[in-house]
């Protein structure tokens, strides 16, 4: 993996998560700037998927291909599902839901990099 890019995605997702929790604490509903931030994160994750596929096509192999693909693809699911769940009932809690979804991203990106660096599970 391109380590710098992974760190960028993880830090960005953590910042958006913090932003969500602050907004939730301020009793705010999910608003457009926050949703745009989530869309940008999702875009970064798509770029990460493309990078991952290009590296695989180039012959590099992670510690476990199945685990690697699971994280690569699984990380794309979290934000759209989280956003849909948050928007189905708009409240300060649904703003926090966006934060929870964002928090899952750095964890998955970290694991993705561990697996790419040779971890087998």
């Amino acid at each position: 993996m391109i380590f710098g890019f992974a760190v960028t995605v993880a830090v960005a997702a953590t910042l958006v998560a913090l932003w969500s929790f602050v907004q939730s604490a301020r009793n705010r509903l999910p608003d457009n700037p926050l949703l745009v931030a989530l869309a940008v994160l999702e875009l970064l994750l798509v770029v990460q998927l493309v990078i991952g596929i290009v590296l695989l096509a180039g012959g590099d192999r992670p510690g476990s291909l199945a685990t690697y693909l699971a994280y690569l693809i699984g990380s794309l699911v979290v934000l759209p599902v989280g956003a849909a769940w948050a928007l189905a009932e708009r409240s300060r809690s649904s703003t926090a839901v966006l934060g929870i979804a964002c928090l899952a991203i750095p964890v998955m990106v970290l694991r993705l990099n561990e697996v790419w660096s040779g971890a087998t599970a």
Binding site: A66, A70, Y71, V78, G82, W85, S91, I100
Partner: protein, 136 residues
């Protein structure tokens, strides 16, 4: 009459979101384990799959309304708590038998102990979102 229980409203939405993430994590992990190396540790990987099913059922049940789903959620969260306590203890007592990690090994150590806290919060929330005592 069917009571409209609202486990998925307010703070419950956050709880369902956390459960959904664990359902995804546990299902993916169990899927990879069973799909690629089931023969290495069938028992541990079946436990992984069991944990995944419990998380999926809990997520769906908490996200839905109605008496029936409330009870399903209660059962799922109870099994989850029992599971993490049992597997957590066994994995400490007999580490050799639990070399292959499950979500519940060492009380969910690999997942920041969230698997230990989650069912407690789940059960607390179910208690709070239970219908008025007279309706019970």
């Amino acid at each position: 009459m069917e009571q409209q229980r609202r486990t998925a409203s307010g703070p419950g939405r956050v709880l369902v979101a956390v459960y959904a993430i664990f359902a995804l994590a546990a299902t993916s992990r169990a899927g990879v384990q069973i799909g690629t190396k089931f023969h290495e540790a069938p028992l541990a990987y079946l436990l992984s799959a069991f944990a995944a099913v419990v998380y999926i059922v809990a997520t769906v049940a908490l996200a839905r309304r109605g008496d029936g789903w409330w009870r399903v959620a209660l059962v799922a969260c109870s099994i989850e708590l029992l599971g993490v306590l049992t597997i957590g203890t066994l994995s400490l007592v007999d580490a050799a038998a639990f070399r292959h990690p499950t979500v519940w090994s060492v009380y969910g150590e690999g997942y920041l102990f969230i698997p230990l806290v989650l069912p407690v919060i789940g059960l607390y929330w179910l208690r709070k979102s239970a219908p008025a005592k007279i309706a019970a």
